[in-house]
């Protein structure tokens, strides 16, 4: 059938059953719109949670328990323990961490981003094996040496990349400071830290000064302080007369995430504590989000089923009402397949229009949600700019789903149309 002929017949159908077309389009738009909106919000929230609690499926952190019940000896996270970990099956790499076991302070009196800064800060430092920060920070740069970097000399420091977000989103706008468009703007910034010194607790012993400079940023860096090379932490602890043999924690990387539960069990059996706080929080939040999204999506699918039934029932009624017209078409030369094709194309167009409107409504709803977030909840730190993430593939999938549902809806009516006897219909039997 030629396109102009199809257009002509579709215009006639629309003229005959405008209310059916309207209700079909509305039903499809509601189903597709609500489904995509809930999916978009679910994906946006999941992305946000993953951003806040980045969980590497292959890594988990082991800590020595602070105290144990019913055991004579404390489990210590020393090199022997690390060797035992490394010997376990499926363990790929270990990343050791050691806190600098004394408080430190810094007084910054320098020019940063064209502004003169005078301030004092309490600093906590954690030594971390350099490989944990690859590829954000080169392992060649992150070493326990006084390095000359952009005319500064000192030990390299890695800061948490969330600090940049908090600074850009909240600190800088509130204090009239320039925004950091690029992490590189802070690289090379140097500062001195005096250990064994605290603004709150006073001096705990002989002070030790150390020069540092910012070498880079990583989401795996210590959020509440500075991350320094593991060897630097050991050296500083030794110089301060503190424990430089036992690690604060060890990040275990396994060959396959499927082995994580079994390894956690083994390590707990060995008397170590696996820090699953963030893992569990991320997992629970993710599950809660997807359970809610799933329930709402099911509701949308139910709306879709109702929309399909509406199309089926409406089309069936329409075809019965227009039976004589279709019989006339058959009498002047239409094949049953041509009539069925016309009905199916009509349903597809209704689904496309309804689906398109649904996508537009979902995008509009997502935009309104983002506007609401910014205007009402704008001051919450680390709040994402976009809480609605709708991939193009999702839209295409929903549109294809709507078209499939519409085709299913008209399958029965179009079959009946094909089997219709024009002689009986035209004779009014």
């Amino acid at each position: 059938m030629r396109l102009w002929a199809l257009q002509k017949l579709l215009r006639l159908s629309l003229k005959r059953d405008f209310s059916l077309a309207l209700s079909s389009v509305f039903g499809m738009a509601l189903a597709v719109g609500s489904l995509l909106f809930f999916l978009g919000v679910g994906m946006g929230l999941t992305h946000f949670i993953q951003h806040l609690f980045p969980v590497d499926a292959k890594r988990f952190e082991v800590k020595a328990p602070q105290w144990t019940l019913g055991e004579k000896e404390y489990k210590k996270l020393d090199e022997a323990a690390c060797e035992a970990f490394q010997a376990l099956e499926h363990v790929h790499t270990l990343y050791r961490k050691m806190e600098v076991r004394a408080p430190g302070t810094t007084r910054i009196n320098d020019t940063l981003l064209g502004m003169r800064i005078h301030m004092g800060l309490e600093i906590m430092a954690v030594g971390i094996e350099p490989a944990l920060f690859a590829p954000e920070v080169s392992t060649a740069l992150f070493v326990d040496e006084d390095i000359f970097f952009e005319e500064k000399e000192g030990v390299p420091v890695v800061l948490s990349s969330y600090l940049i977000e908090v600074y850009n989103q909240h600190f800088a706008p509130k204090n009239g400071l320039p925004l950091l468009s690029n992490e590189d703007m802070l690289k090379g910034f140097g500062f001195d830290v005096v250990f064994n010194q605290s603004f709150f607790a006073g001096n705990a012993g002989e002070a030790l000064a150390q020069e540092f400079f910012i070498a880079g940023f990583s989401p795996r860096a210590f959020l509440a302080g500075i991350s320094i090379p593991l060897e630097s932490a050991k050296r500083i602890n030794r110089a301060l007369g503190k424990d430089a043999e036992h690690y604060s924690s060890v990040v275990v990387e396994v060959t396959d995430s499927a082995h994580v539960p079994k390894l956690i069990q083994e390590l707990e059996h060995m008397g170590f504590k696996v820090d699953e706080g963030e893992r569990q929080r991320a997992r629970q939040l993710g599950l809660a989000i997807w359970a809610t999204t799933g329930a709402l999506s099911l509701l949308s699918i139910l709306i879709g089923v109702l929309a399909t039934l509406n199309i089926a029932q409406g089309m069936s009624h329409s075809l019965r009402m227009r039976e004589t017209e279709f019989a006339i078409f058959r009498a002047v030369g239409a094949t049953p397949a041509q009539l069925a094709w016309t009905v199916m194309v009509q349903a597809l167009i209704l689904a496309l229009v309804g689906g398109g409107l649904g996508i537009a409504a979902a995008l509009g709803g997502g935009h309104l949600l983002n506007v609401f977030l910014f205007q009402v909840l704008g001051d919450i730190p680390l709040l994402p700019k976009n809480l609605f993430m709708l991939p193009v593939l999702g839209c295409i999938g929903a549109l294809l789903g709507a078209m499939l549902a519409a085709l299913l809806g008209v399958w029965g009516p179009s079959r009946r149309l094909q089997k219709m006897s024009p002689a009986e219909v035209l004779a009014g039997r």
Partner: protein, 220 residues
């Protein structure tokens, strides 16, 4: 043109005896002939026209139209036959409401695999041929009964059919309009169109070259 052999049609009714609607051992209509079919209501006139027009396919026997045996044609071939060889005109016109006369007349072009390149001029020409040249934009609701029947005849002529089957074409018309439709059919027949007309109208019975009477599905 038409050859019917041992044609039989039975209506099966639930909880009732089967009704023998047609039983015609033999019928021939020559090309260019004008045949009138008469008979009481329920005598099988419409059933015979529906079978000849390939609108009813449930029958026994052989119906040959030209070279084609209808029962041997596929669904697509039957549609092609209805579009090009035969044209049906009904008592209640069966026009598409809301469409103009021009659109109604050109309706067969919508389903044709190879519609004529000059659809609009051809439809206009058909309307002029039935005396509706000035009513091309009128819808069926704006036309009289006679004009609607002319429009239906123009539609039947559009695809260039050689055989026209008319079921009570003047059944809903007044005497004056009836005369004009009879004149039109006689003219079309004179131009070479084969006509089989089911009718009670004396004017049509008189105008026909042959008169067949059906009684309880049998030719008398």
């Amino acid at each position: 043109m038409i050859e019917v052999r041992n044609l039989s049609k039975v209506f099966e009714k639930a909880h009732a005896h089967a009704v023998h609607a047609l039983s015609i051992p033999s019928l021939e209509v020559a090309s260019g002939e004008f045949v009138a079919l008469s008979g009481k209501s329920g005598s099988g006139k419409t059933t015979l026209l529906n079978i000849l027009g390939a609108l009813d396919l449930c029958y026994e026997g052989e119906v040959r139209i030209g070279e084609e045996v209808l029962s041997k044609l596929s669904s697509r071939e039957l549609a092609h036959y209805r579009a090009t060889t035969v044209a049906s005109v009904f008592q209640s016109f069966h026009l598409i409401q809301g469409w103009s006369a021009l659109e109604n007349v050109a309706l067969p072009a919508l389903f044709s695999k190879a519609p004529p390149p000059d659809i609009i001029p051809r439809a206009l020409q058909m309307l002029q041929a039935v005396g509706l040249g000035d009513k091309a934009k009128s819808t069926p609701a704006q036309l009289s009964g006679g004009e609607r029947q002319r429009m239906a005849i123009a539609r039947a002529l559009f695809a260039g059919a050689r055989l026209m089957l008319c079921d009570e074409p003047t059944g809903n018309l007044d005497a004056q309009t009836t005369q004009s439709i009879v004149d039109l059919l006689v003219r079309l027949n004179a131009e070479g169109l084969t006509l089989v007309v089911a009718t009670h109208e004396p004017l049509l019975l008189k105008a026909a070259q042959r008169h067949l009477n059906l009684e309880q599905g049998r030719l008398q």
